[in-house]
């Protein structure tokens, strides 16, 4: 039921996630994000606008992605967090670790 698609922009790849990210569905997210980091995609923007729920397995997947892009000095940024998703990041004290933006425009605006 979870859908993950990617959209290529000039200077970034947007990963659009649609659905709940939990133990059942996070492997699908992981596959796509790790795939992008293997290709050393410079800027990965994760669109969470359509994610109403994320658990720790989803958060772990994004942390892993962040660590991978860090290895080649790439960026992984998040945008469009619903309140339930934002709460999980806050409770995990990762809201300061990730770059989190309101929407795609603002996330794009921070790219060189």
């Amino acid at each position: 039921m979870l859908e993950v698609t990617t959209r290529n922009l000039k200077n970034a790849v947007v990963v659009v996630i649609k659905g709940d990210v939990d133990l059942y569905s996070s492997p699908k997210v992981r596959k796509i994000i790790i795939g992008l980091t293997k290709k050393k995609t410079e800027n990965v923007l994760v669109d969470l606008t359509q994610v109403a729920y994320m658990d720790s397995s989803g958060v772990a997947t994004l942390v892993e992605g962040l660590q991978q892009v860090g290895k080649y000095k790439g960026k992984l940024k998040l945008f469009g967090l619903e309140s339930a998703v934002r709460e999980v990041f806050e409770l995990s004290r990762l809201d300061k670790v990730f770059e989190i933006y309101e929407n795609e425009e603002k996330a794009l605006g921070t790219l060189a």
Partner: protein, 153 residues
Amino acid sequence: MGLKGDISKHPPVSDKAQDAIEFRVPSDPKILKIVRLSVSHLCDLAGFTAEERNGTTLAVDEACSNIIRHAYDGAHDQPIIVTCKLLTNGVQITIRDFGKNIRKSEIKSRDLEKVRPGGLGVHLIQSVMDVVKYERSSRKGNKLTLAKYKNVK
């Protein structure tokens, strides 16, 4: 971890058996969403705020995920029994499994300063719930009692 908050301090206000909703589900990650939808609606019935509801739903999801991954080592066909009780001042949820007995010393949240994937579930459960009590069943398996009360801090 053991007892967080003392459940006896917050006695369930109504605990007739007929107030309980019980789910028996297989330890399959596919069923997590069904459990979440149900718990979330129960929280609405309890009059929780969105934050209280989201937190409680997350905690139950994390607890079931941990049972699947740790107590059952990822097997998808083992039983989990989730019992939900509506209290007049909140909800109480017990989650039973029949897997490996937990070692309480192992169930602890890690240092969050070290940013790494994983190791967040127990922390999330403890941050959100007012009662978190792990017990080993006298025979095989474990019982986790969670409770969340309205308007607690």
